[in-house]
Amino acid sequence: MSGAEVTRAGLRGERPGSEALFGNGMNGGPGGGPDGGPAGGRRRGAREAEFTSYYGRPVLKVPHWAATDIAGYLFLGGLAGAGSVLAAGAELTGRRGTARAMKLSSLGAVSLSAAALIHDLGRPERFLNMLRVFKPTSPMSIGSWLLVGYGPLAGAAAAADVTGRFPRAGRAAACGAAVFGPAVAAYTGVLIADTAVPAWHEGHRELPYLFTGSAAAAAAGMALLTGPLPENRPARRAAVLGTAAELAAMHALRRRTGMIAETYRQGTAGRLLRAAEVLGTAGAAGAALLSGRSRRAATLSGAALLAASVCTRFGLFHAGLASARDPKYTVEPQRSRPGGVGRTG
């Protein structure tokens, strides 16, 4: 076969293992060329019909992240960030009650979100390693630095308001937090999109808008829930605006992601995202129509909006896990990508 001979002098003409031969052509048989013998033709036919995988195992590694930590982090970051904008707006337009409530809410949310992030580290005691480098290719690095900039501002704004000391500095801090806040809310979209997880990565255009919309709705909900009734007109408008943006972005996301959009509809993710839509729509309608006059309506609408935002974040989180777990969401879009590999062989 390989032409090797055992002679008195030892083995002659042997072939290194890496050149071992097999196949139709090696015995001078007919052989199927590279352009497809019988085997090739059959394989193509069979392959078109069914999707193949390695024993149904995922191609990707499903992240080890805990839903409460990471989806919770996405929600809290949005609530804090958008809340700071509402706080500054309320402060500058003399809505003192809302301003204080939102400053406290943002401080609480950003503290909890940082705690969630640290809790989820495999080595929490090494959190400070996040600040070893500043790395624009790592959304998590950028996010850590954003939190380092934003957190103290949110804290100073709340502290100045509650203690009544350093009012000027407090106002400056509130305005600073309002500038950093939207970045905190928007970057979380990039955080999950910058992965190989199909339901997250393929939504990389829509996720930042989806998340800022959801953040605006959550902050509006918090303002309705905690702010005095006579001050809540901006919050009612923000509720409508945020929910509308979120619904529009979700619609675009579903349309653009093709077969991956299944993961937004099915299972836990599907239930959560449907709940988010219902709660968000109800909350926004309640905010727009009833919450100007009724305390109870404002409270209920606010709670619904907050719950909607929680459902959105957890829903997208679970959709990502589901899309990573099933190899078909990795393989099929790569196969059908325009300019991609197609079916070779």
């Binding site: 293992g17 060329g33 904008v85 989820d120 979209g189």
Partner: protein, 283 residues
Amino acid sequence: MTTHEPHLLHGPEPDVADAGHPRPPERVGFFTDTSVCIGCKACEVACKEWNAVPEDGLDLTGMSYDNTGALGASSWRHVAFIEQDKPLGGQQTQPELRWLMASDVCKHCTHAACLDVCPTGSLFRTEFGTVVVQEDICNGCGYCVPACPYGVIEQREGDGRAWKCTLCYDRLGAGQEPACAKACPTESIQFGPLDDLREKAAARVEQLHATGVPDARLYGEDPADGVGGAGALFLLLDEPEVYGLPPDPVVTTRDLPAMWRHAGVAAAALLTGLAAVFAGGRR
């Protein structure tokens, strides 16, 4: 395959190690020729021994002879076994059967998503062009895990940090080849300068085509692919997904500039939108 302008985040990249390494040695890698793999798992064992990788479960998976399952925190080489009712080469017997075996490993991507997204700088590019985790810096954020388009890197249970193949960084430093390549009895795993391996791989696939194995194809050899070409090439006998490999992986950070742009617009819209709701009189 579409061609792109030279770019730091995707596309061909002639000098991977030029980031921070003055006068680096030649880029090295693996060529894993699965057509001569006999499924002995010597690579798995040698890797475990040399790198002191802990035990990763003693389960029977029912997946042919594969009881490792997949690459992971404590499996840096993984031999896949695939049983198919297709003929192998010139086989004449009934039923037709072929048994594919392939030793998988970290691809040491030219554009490595794991490295790009690591927030601590724990993952880095060595002077050999390989991708290595520094375990004293990794804080276990787990971001590299879903970033890898091949599902290679993983956090270790109970340890929290991320682990993967180092391409035997310590052995390379001492002028030795990696433990798996050293142990492979059939030269299915070949180690060397990446340019040489690409040539060898092209010659081998041609040889197999000529002897009537039209299924033979290369995987990861194209510098214009979604990860800028892998540092570990493969010769496969079926579609990549049959072996659990993604058919056309793309480094996620290729789209990162677009993501930051959209995030910037979204943040600006949030700020102006929420400023606008305060317009008009007080009520």
